[in-house]
Structures are given as structure tokens and as C-alpha cells.
């Protein structure tokens, strides 16, 4: 909302208040002032009368003028095409400072020039505020401009505008009158608004009939003003409109615009001769094409509120009137329309048509029910005063006039309890006096009459807010809640998530956060298939149409970003949600690792991120959460997703629950083509969180020496070392403390289709010293099992 200080001054005394102080007071009371804007910054201007205007002897387009500026007569060379003797003009005197230039006496092509005759642009008026003629040349002031006077004051350009950001509950302040009342309450000083209540109650019998067949129009007032005189508006109206960026057209159109600025109520004036039927009906069941006042043709559909007369459409209600009934220079009488329209209807229609007119914007706010009546009073009063209104007919009314004012009973106790303050009944009563809530003390309580424009006030906490914003939050003493204590903290799942983050950052991984919304290509190939993606009905772009169904694709694009920016070493993880229809949610962890991470260039040391490293990270995370290798299984990745190398990836299981996939990315992926082999993983954290972790159980340190046996085996390529190790544990029983691979070799010396595997078995008893012979027997049993089940051959 823009607030003209000059306009505000017509309602209240502001002589002791600077714009900066006003800004601070308004802001601390909840009307946040975002900006203070001065009209024209130019100095050294005066109003002059052009006495003579002759061609410049040495120029085709320059003119030599003499200008009376009151105190003296100046010679000025002027280049404007429209300058002429007899004009009142804006003169920038010697030393004047304009936005682009400082004026100095000079000689122009041999002729003395003691100042400059200015256009509006030259004194800093925005082009959008000017007509074609104004843009083309110097500004010609009206005849009544006082010679030697201040042109900025004369044009209303000496004004200061405050740009106020209003909260949605205070949409009443989008109009000058309620805003002035509000400022009066904040500053605690009287506000005098024009008194025109009842001005529309005049007029003889009317032939006009108004009605609404639509639910979205509760009130419709119509009034015939049989005769008006079109002429320029008085100066104060021109200035008032100007301060809101509205161009003056003529007195009648200006009055309609002014009343909207004053009351917040849009009005529409029709040329009365274009509505001979004298019948106006609001309908919402019409489908037709319609040419509006702007000359464009729009199609209306059922649901749009339309103004009709007989079978004829004459306007999109609350948005824009029709071309064929608008006020023209030939208009001699008008019909005033003041109505309330449902803001949802207006919003829907204006959005569809792409027509955000001033009226539509006003209608989309919460409006008080009495504004149509106030606006009609104001229109009539102004038309009588400035447009010679005659042949006035009584107001035709559709709808019931609302009673308007709400009564509330309150006391200081409620507010002190909610706010934590210590105000007296007198103090809060005084706040309500400032707000014009007409407080009447009744015993220990006070009765309030809430003005109709404060439709945001209906319950006690609304009053608490009025009290605290006008008396100041500094009256609140800081305390901390005193409550039955409850245990705070993270939930178990949240603690596990934080643990995972700490483990991974400890492994050297950087956390990233990507957008959850992705394009089609991200969801075409999820890491594993669960269902349809959640699709937005109103995406901003195709890039952000779906909620992601896996996190890995986002991480791959993050990795591609790093490559594009010459960062070819990375180790990243992201934790985030994925969604599937219908409303299935999983929390996921995804990891991506570049093939190498240099540790020391000169020592030629690097971390190699191969399959076994990503496998180790996954096992490490799970182990930290209490899932040891007896519960975690890496199995063949039968999902065969787009993302993973089929022979270098594994499906991960916790007991029998599928957790996700880890391994090397598929060589056909662009990222692998660019960056080489990359390790990656995606895990379902929700499944991990819901599994029960194994508890820590203490086992005494063995007191007896252990025995080790190394086996050198040849087994077929197709046999897995993991299964073989498991078989050793099973066969060896509790004496096998550990069985691990310490060498894997294929190639020279190993027959085709075979691999050489070296395994160390550590035997340990917690009860006695082991006997060699006993271990030899057990080892042989293990070997027999491996020969039988794994076609293993013992190498000597």
C-alpha cells in the first residue's frame, strides 16, 4: 500500500512528525514501512510565464525565450517543440539540481541562456506517469499556476510516499480512510475524514431495477444520476490520484477512481444512455465472448460473475466493464454501480482471463460489508460538488444492509494471562479509545463496539494483539515455560540417522542436499522399482514435476556437476525421503564415490574406491548400528537396475529384509564414461531403523593360546568366497574364531575357470589349550566339506 503524506495531512495534523519517525511508529505497530519515496528530488525550480518566443538565429530547432519568474525576467534558450509565448512553465534556475544535470548560466550558439524550461522527465517524473504529449516536450502548467511559485507543490510532486507492507488481516488498510484511522490510533491523535454519510439518500423515484441471480453477489447498489457535466477535475483530486500513480481523465472517471482509493470499494460508472432498459442483473451462468473496456475480447464461462442488462453483457463483475457502455466525452448522465462480489469468484475469473485490474485486486481482499454504502455516499457527494449532478434518482438496492458493528466484552485479566503482562483496566481501555472501539467501562469489564472495517477482530486474542502492538512488546517480561517436565531429545530413529551421518563423515564423505523434485528421466529408472512416482498437478516446470523415487540419480547429477567444475575427486552422501503412490514413503541413504581419492601426491598414495570399499562402507554403517556380519548378507544383484554393473554390485540384506544395492555404477552411464569406475549405494533407512539391533555382549579375553591353519585352495570361478567362508564357520563350529581370505588369484598357473584362494582359519577355545592333533582332525573335516560342496582342490 502506498501512503501519500500530503493526502494523509488532509485528515490529521502531522506537522511535528517526519516521515522517518512515522515509518518507525508504523513499523513497530505492525504496518511495516518498506520504503520512503520522495516525489521529485529536483531543487531550484520555479513557475515562469513565457513572455516571448522567437526562433534562434543560428539553429533550426532551438528557440529564444524570455520568461517572467516573478522576481526577474530570464532569457532562456529552449529546444522543446511545444514551447510558446503565454505558457506557464517549470523553470530550473541557475544552480538548480535536477536528477541528471546541474543548471548553469551559459551561452548556447551565441545566445545567453539563464536557466532551463523543463519537461516532467527532466525533473524526475517516471515516464509511466505521463501522457504522450507530456513525454514529447516541456510541461505546460495550467493558467492558474502562480508565477514565482513552487511547481513541485503545484503539481503535487512535493509529496512523500511511504510504501507499506500490509499483513493479510489488515486489508482494510488498503484504503486511505481506514488507513488514516489506523495511523490516528498508532499516533494517538484525532482524524477528520470527509463527512458524507447519508449523501446517497437523496433522489426521486427510480426506474432502475438491480438484482443478482448469482450467489457470489450479496449486495448490489445502483443509482441513476441523470445529468452530469464532464470537465477537468479539481486540483486536489488530480494530485491525490497522481500520488497513487493514477492518471487524471475527467471529473467523473476521476471520482470513481478516487472513491476506490478512499474507501477500498471499486465502483463502476456506466453511460446511462447505453443502458436504456434500466435493469441490471448479476448472473453466473453465461458462456459467451465479450469485448471489455480495454478493447480485447474475452470468453466468459459459467461460474464467472457477469453484469447484464436484458440479454446484453455489460461487464465482468468486479474486474472490467464493457467497451460499449463506458464513459465518453459525450456522456451526459451516468448509472453508478457499487456492489460486493465474492473474492473467490473474482480471483478465479481474473486469473483465468489474466486481467488483474485495480478493481479485481481490491475485490480479492477481505472487504467489510458496509463499504458499498459508504462508497455510494461518497460518489454522490463528490458528483454533486464537482460534476453538477442533477436528476438524481433514489438508490436501487439488492441485498440486505448488514448491521455492521460487533460488540465485545473484555477485561485486563485475560490479556495479562495470555501476554504475561501487568496492564490495568485503564491502560487497555485507553488502547481501545485510540482505536475508536468506543470503550464503555461496565464494572470490572469494558464493552467495545468494533468498527465494521475491523473485520479481523472477533475474539479475545485479537484484542490482546491490539493491546500489545499499541503499548509495545517491551512491556512483556521474558520468562520460560513452567511445565510438567517431559523427556526431550531425538527419537531413536533420529539418533540412528545422526549416527550414520557421523560415521559417513568420519569415512570422509561430504553430505549434500538436492532438490526432491525431479524430471521424468530421474524417475524412469529408480534404483529399485516400488511403484508410481508422486506427480505434481501444477509443477513450475518439467524439470520439477515429480517427487523423486530414488536418491541415487540426484547424487549422480551432483557428481556430474563436480566433473563439470573440474572436481574429479569426490565422496558424497545424501539422506532424504522418496515417495511412491499411494503415499508410500521411505527414507533413503545414497552414496557415490569417485574412483580415486589422492592422499599424498608425492608419496603416490591414493584411496581406491573399488567395489570392496563401497561394500566395506555399507558393512561399516550397518555394523555401527548393531548389525554384524552374521546378519548382513551381500547377494547377487538380481534387480539389474540401470545404475549398477551387473557383475560388480550386490543386493544387501539384513537378515531376510532387502535393504538396497551397492556396487560399481554401470559402464554405460554418462558419469562412468566421464569419470571412470564409480562406487555407489542406495539403502532403505526406514528398513534399517525398524530392525532390532544386536546388543553388546561381553566375552572374556581368551586365556589359552589359539592355533592358525592356512589353506590354499583352487575353486571354480562360479563359487563364491563368501559362501565358502560361511561353510567353514558352520563346519568348524564354535572353535573357529575367524576365517578370512588372505589371497585371491587368477591367471598364470591357475587353470581356466578356476580361482586360487588362500584362507586363514584361527581356532580358539575359551576352556582349554587346543591340541594340534584335534585341530588337524577338524581342519580335515572342513577340507572334506569344501571338496564336496565347492569342488575345492587343495594346493600343496
Amino acid at each position: 500500500m502506498q501512503l501519500s503524506i500530503n493526502w494523509l495531512k488532509s485528515y490529521m495534523d502531522l506537522s511535528d512528525i517526519t516521515p522517518a519517525i512515522l515509518r518507525d511508529k508504523l513499523t513497530s505497530a505492525g504496518l511495516e514501512v518498506e520504503r520512503i519515496e520522495q516525489g521529485s528530488p529536483a531543487t531550484g525550480l520555479t513557475i515562469g510565464l513565457v513572455l516571448t518566443c522567437n526562433p534562434h538565429p543560428d539553429s533550426d530547432h532551438l528557440k529564444c525565450t524570455t520568461v517572467d519568474v516573478g522576481s526577474t525576467v530570464l532569457s532562456i534558450v529552449c529546444g522543446a517543440p511545444n514551447v510558446a509565448a503565454g505558457q506557464k512553465v517549470i523553470v530550473a534556475m541557475d544552480g538548480a539540481v535536477l536528477p541528471q544535470i546541474v543548471i548553469k548560466k551559459s551561452v548556447i550558439r551565441g545566445q545567453q541562456s539563464e536557466g532551463m524550461i523543463c519537461s516532467l522527465s527532466e525533473i524526475g517524473v517516471d515516464a509511466s506517469m505521463q501522457s504522450e504529449a507530456q513525454l514529447a516536450g516541456i510541461e505546460v502548467l495550467s493558467k492558474d499556476a502562480p508565477i514565482g511559485g513552487d511547481p513541485l507543490a503545484f503539481l503535487g510532486l512535493d509529496d512523500t510516499i511511504l510504501e507499506i507492507s500490509l499483513t493479510p488481516n489488515r486489508s482494510d488498510c488498503y484504503a486511505m480512510w481506514p488507513l488514516a484511522k489506523e495511523i490516528g490510533a498508532i499516533l494517538d491523535r484525532p482524524v477528520t475524514l470527509p463527512d458524507c454519510e447519508g449523501a446517497a439518500d437523496i433522489g426521486g423515484p427510480t426506474s432502475l431495477k438491480v438484482a443478482s441471480e448469482a450467489k457470489g453477489c450479496p449486495t448490489f447498489l445502483g443509482k441513476v444520476i441523470g445529468s452530469v457535466t464532464l470537465k477537468p477535475s479539481p486540483d486536489w483530486i488530480v494530485k491525490a490520484l497522481h500520488s497513487y500513480g493514477v492518471k487524471s481523465i475527467n471529473n467523473v472517471v476521476d471520482i470513481s477512481n478516487l472513491v476506490m482509493l478512499e474507501t477500498g470499494q471499486p465502483t463502476h460508472f456506466y453511460d446511462k444512455d447505453k443502458i436504456p432498459l434500466r435493469q441490471i442483473t448479476v448472473k453466473d451462468n453465461i458462456a459467451a465472448d465479450y469485448t471489455a473496456l480495454d478493447g480485447n475480447t474475452y470468453s466468459c464461462t459459467p461460474g464467472d460473475l457477469m453484469i447484464t442488462t436484458g440479454d446484453k453483457l455489460i461487464g465482468f463483475a468486479g474486474i472490467m466493464g464493457g467497451d460499449d457502455s463506458k464513459i465518453l466525452d459525450t456522456t451526459t448522465g451516468i448509472i453508478i454501480e457499487v456492489a460486493s462480489f465474492d473474492r473467490v469468484h473474482i480471483r478465479r475469473t481474473s486469473r483465468r482471463l489474466g486481467l488483474q485490474t485495480e478493481a479485481a485486486v481490491h475485490y480479492q481482499r477481505v472487504m467489510e460489508p458496509l463499504t458499498p454504502y459508504k462508497a455510494m455516499d461518497r460518489c454522490v457527494a463528490l458528483l454533486l460538488q464537482y460534476a453538477d449532478a442533477k436528476e438524481i434518482e433514489a438508490t436501487a438496492i439488492y441485498g440486505i444492509k448488514p448491521s455492521g458493528e460487533l460488540k465485545l466484552l473484555t477485561d485486563e485479566k485475560f490479556h495479562n494471562k495470555l501476554l504475561g503482562t501487568n496492564f490495568s483496566l485503564e491502560e487497555i481501555t485507553d488502547v481501545f479509545r485510540r482505536l475508536d472501539f468506543k470503550p464503555v467501562v461496565k464494572g470490572s469489564q469494558v464493552e467495545l463496539t468494533i468498527p465494521s472495517y475491523r473485520s479481523d477482530i472477533s475474539i479475545q486474542p485479537d484484542l490482546s494483539e491490539e493491546i500489545i502492538r499499541l503499548l509495545g512488546f517491551e512491556n512483556i517480561t521474558s520468562t520460560l515455560p513452567v511445565l510438567v517436565s517431559k523427556e526431550g531429545g531425538l527419537s531413536l530413529d533420529q539418533k540412528k540417522r545422526e549416527k550414520i551421518k557421523d560415521v559417513l563423515t568420519g569415512y570422509g564423505l561430504q553430505e549434500v542436499i538436492n532438490y526432491s523434485l525431479v524430471n521424468r528421466s530421474f524417475i524412469n529408472h529408480p534404483t529399485w522399482e516400488l511403484g508410481e512416482a508422486v506427480e505434481l498437478a501444477n509443477p513450475l516446470s518439467e524439470e520439477r514435476r515429480y517427487y523423486r523415487t530414488s536418491v541415487l540419480p540426484s547424487l549422480i547429477s551432483t557428481a556430474l556437476y563436480q566433473l563439470d567444475h573440474y572436481q574429479d575427486e569426490f565422496a558424497l552422501f545424501e539422506i532424504g525421503d522418496v515417495y511412491y503412490e499411494p503415499m508410500e514413503k521411505q527414507e533413503r541413504l545414497s552414496i557415490i564415490l569417485s574412483s580415486n581419492v589422492d592422499l599424498s601426491l608425492w608419496q603416490k598414495a591414493a584411496l581406491q574406491n573399488d567395489f570392496y570399499r563401497i561394500k566395506g562402507m555399507v558393512a561399516g554403517v550397518l555394523s555401527e548400528l548393531g548389525f554384524g556380519q552374521n546378519r548382513v548378507f551381500f547377494k547377487e544383484n538380481i534387480e539389474q537396475s540401470e545404475y549398477f554393473h551387473p557383475g560388480q554390485s550386490a543386493a544387501i540384506y539384513l537378515d531376510k529384509t532387502f535393504l538396497g544395492v551397492c556396487g560399481m555404477l554401470h559402464p554405460k552411464l554418462e558419469i562412468v564414461k566421464q569419470a571412470g569406475a564409480l562406487g555407489a549405494a542406495e539403502l532403505d533407512l526406514s528398513a534399517i531403523f525398524s530392525a532390532k539391533a544386536s546388543a553388546i555382549r561381553y566375552q572374556p579375553i581368551p586365556r589359552y593360546p589359539g592355533i592358525q591353519r592356512d589353506l590354499a585352495l583352487l575353486i571354480p570361478q562360479s563359487q563364491s568366497a563368501g559362501a565358502l567362508i560361511n561353510a567353514i564357520y558352520k563346519t568348524g563350529g564354535k572353535l573357529v574364531e575367524k576365517a578370512e581370505v588372505f589371497d585371491l588369484y587368477t591367471g598364470k598357473g591357475v587353470p581356466d575357470g578356476q580361482k586360487s584362494l588362500a584362507i586363514r582359519i584361527s581356532y580358539q577355545s575359551y576352556e582349554k589349550t587346543l591340541v594340534e592333533a584335534e585341530i588337524d582332525v577338524l581342519t580335515n573335516t572342513i577340507i572334506e566339506r569344501l571338496q564336496r560342496d565347492f569342488q575345492a582342490q587343495i594346493r600343496s
Partner: protein, 344 residues
């Protein structure tokens, strides 16, 4: 008569000329060995008169002790010399680069979230999360924003269908908490999470962002409790000398509502570019929970009251670390992320 003086002098000279351990060993044998010089002297004892033997033996033993000590001292000196030589040989150029220990870090938004969570957990708050694909019911209706409320325009929403949308604020978590705990008061929670709004991304807007909102509901909760809580938060997050200022505002969820500013931590309140000269930085929105919101959740608003507040995590991270463009927080450029690398 034995010339003790000459014997000692002779071997003393031999000892002093030793430079290598092998020479020392050889000397040790020649002097102290079974067939060495000292042993030779001992052998002469047999030829002496019994009354002379005691004095002679005393002299020999004195020499033996003397040279045993001397050789040991020389041995240690040699060992020490050798050690010094090997240390000198093993000296490194310690100015060469160290072996990098890969370090991972949290994303700055996660860092800020953790810091805030820690502040509130220490005050006894639970941390509660909720779904990002949310029902209109919890995101709007229960937050006091019915259909066609103008406030819905302020938060342009990504819809999935008539009932479902992407959460526009973490208030949606609070309305769920209110419903779930209406029979288990008091409530004392913070609700962190991602939100989405239909905004074009630019330096200060992002269609995805994170918030943390807090909610306390119980008997006798006042706006003073809110103010005290926010003050504590400002001090813990931005330093002990911070103060806060409340300004009236409007949120559908609360009445009265207030915007909270924290005194500028860059200039201390004098005015600078960060606070745009005002000395204050807008940090969060807050207020007393609207009675209708309590009633919709089945909580008696005449008996219970509460406060709520909410802050944008990206905004706090940007203020704290001087990040000028919110898109930096989603680009995940490693050169950017590498800054957030230390204990605070």
C-alpha cells in the same frame, strides 16, 4: 717391584685411542679377558711372598675395577655416537606435505539444524518430523487456513491432487502433533523439515527450503514464555550479547503474532550492510497459538494456551555464514561445501 704407574698409564693411553666398537672389544679382551693383562698380573701373585700378596691383590683389583668402569663408559659413549649418527641419517624434511586424512562434513543446513536441535533438546524439547507429501487438512485446514483463504495465495502451493500437496510449512507437523498429543499435554516440540513453495528460484527464493518450528502447549503458557524462549535461542545461536525485538505480524496459526528480530551479530546493532543499517535482523515468526487451532485439534482453549515459532534454516545458514545466494545451498559445489569444516 711392579711399576703400577707405568701399567696404568700404558692402558690408559690404549683406552683413549679407541674410536670403533671392534677396537674396544679387542682391548677389553687384551686387558680384562681370561688371558689379558689384568689376569697376567693376578698370575704373578703366586710368585710373591704371602705377606706381599694382600697389598698386591688390592692394587690389581683396583686396576680391574678402574678399567672395567672406563671401558663401560667408552662403550656407552660409542653407542651414543652411533645413535646420534643414525638419527641424523633418519631426519626428514618435515616441511613436506602431510598425508591427507579424508574428512567428510555435514551440509551447512544440517549443521544449523543440529545446532538448533541441540539448543532445544537441552531445554527439554522433543524433535518431531512429518511427511513432505502432506494432506491439505494438516497443511492448511488445521493451521487456520481454510479453502480460499487469501493466505493460501501467499504460499503458492504445489498440489498433487485435491487432497494432497507438498508441505508449504512445517506448521503441518505441528498440527499433526496437536492432534496426536491432544490427550497427552503438555506439548514441547520442535519440528524440522523440508518445505516446498511454487516460487521461481532466485538469490533469495527457493522452491525447496527447510524450516524448524517450535510448539509449546500447556496450562498458563504466556507470550512472556515465548519471548524468553526466543531470547535464549538468539543467545545460544548468535552469541550471549544478542537481544531480540518483537514486532507485530500476522500468521493464521497464531494470535497475537509477532516477528522476532535479533540484534545484528555483524555490527552489534550499530547498523551495517547485513542488517541494512537497522541494527536488527529478522530471524523468525512467532505467536500465541490461535484458540481455533487448539480447538480443531480437540484441545480446550479456555484451559490451555501455547506458543509457536518458526525459522528458515537456509536463511539462518545464510546469515550466519554470509552466504549471499540461496541456490548455493542446493548446487552442492564441493568448493562451496568445503567451507563448513570446523567445530563451532
Amino acid at each position: 717391584m711392579q711399576d703400577w704407574q707405568a701399567f696404568k698409564q700404558q692402558w690408559e693411553t690404549a683406552c683413549d685411542s679407541i674410536a670403533e666398537r671392534s677396537d674396544l672389544e679387542k682391548l677389553k679382551v687384551e686387558l680384562l679377558g681370561k688371558k689379558g693383562a689384568i689376569a697376567g698380573l693376578m698370575g704373578q701373585m703366586r710368585d710373591l711372598e704371602p705377606q706381599e700378596r694382600a697389598a698386591f691383590g688390592k692394587e690389581v683389583n683396583g686396576l680391574k675395577d678402574y678399567f672395567t668402569n672406563k671401558i663401560e663408559t667408552i662403550s656407552q659413549a660409542l653407542e651414543n655416537k652411533q645413535l646420534q649418527a643414525s638419527l641424523a641419517e633418519g631426519s626428514l624434511d618435515i616441511s613436506m606435505p602431510y598425508t591427507r586424512i579424508p574428512r567428510g562434513r555435514l551440509h551447512p543446513v544440517s549443521i544449523v539444524r543440529r545446532q538448533l536441535e541441540e539448543v532445544f533438546i537441552s531445554m527439554g524439547y522433543q524433535v518431531v518430523e512429518g511427511p513432505e507429501v502432506e494432506l491439505d487438512l494438516y497443511n492448511f485446514e488445521r493451521a487456520g487456513i481454510p479453502a480460499d483463504h487469501p493466505a493460501r495465495d501467499m504460499q503458492d502451493t504445489f498440489f498433487v491432487d485435491v487432497q494432497r500437496l507438498l508441505r508449504t510449512h512445517t506448521t503441518a507437523i505441528q498440527t499433526r502433533v496437536l492432534e496426536a498429543q491432544s490427550n497427552n499435554l503438555p506439548i514441547k516440540v520442535v519440528c524440522p523439515g523440508k518445505d516446498y513453495r511454487r516460487d521461481d528460484d532466485d538469490a533469495t527464493h527457493s522452491h525447496q527450503f527447510s524450516q524448524m518450528e517450535g510448539l509449546v502447549v500447556g496450562e498458563g503458557i504466556t507470550m512472556g514464555d515465548l519471548k524468553g524462549t526466543l531470547e535464549l535461542l538468539a543467545k545460544r545461536m548468535f552469541g550471549e550479547s544478542r537481544t531480540i525485538r518483537l514486532r507485530p505480524s500476522y500468521f493464521q496459526f497464531t494470535e497475537p503474532s509477532a516477528e522476532a528480530d535479533v540484534s545484528c551479530f555483524a555490527c552489534g546493532g550499530k547498523g551495517c550492510s547485513l542488517c541494512k543499517g537497522s541494527g536488527w535482523i529478522e530471524i523468525l515468526g512467532s505467536g500465541m497459538v490461535h484458540p481455533n487451532v487448539l480447538e480443531m485439534a480437540g484441545i480446550d482453549s479456555s484451559k490451555y494456551s501455547g506458543f509457536a515459532f518458526g525459522a528458515g534454516l537456509e536463511r539462518i545458514a545464510m546469515l550466519k555464514y554470509g552466504i549471499e545466494d540461496i541456490r548455493n545451498l542446493f548446487a552442492n559445489d564441493l568448493r562451496f561445501l568445503a567451507h563448513f569444516n570446523r567445530f563451532e
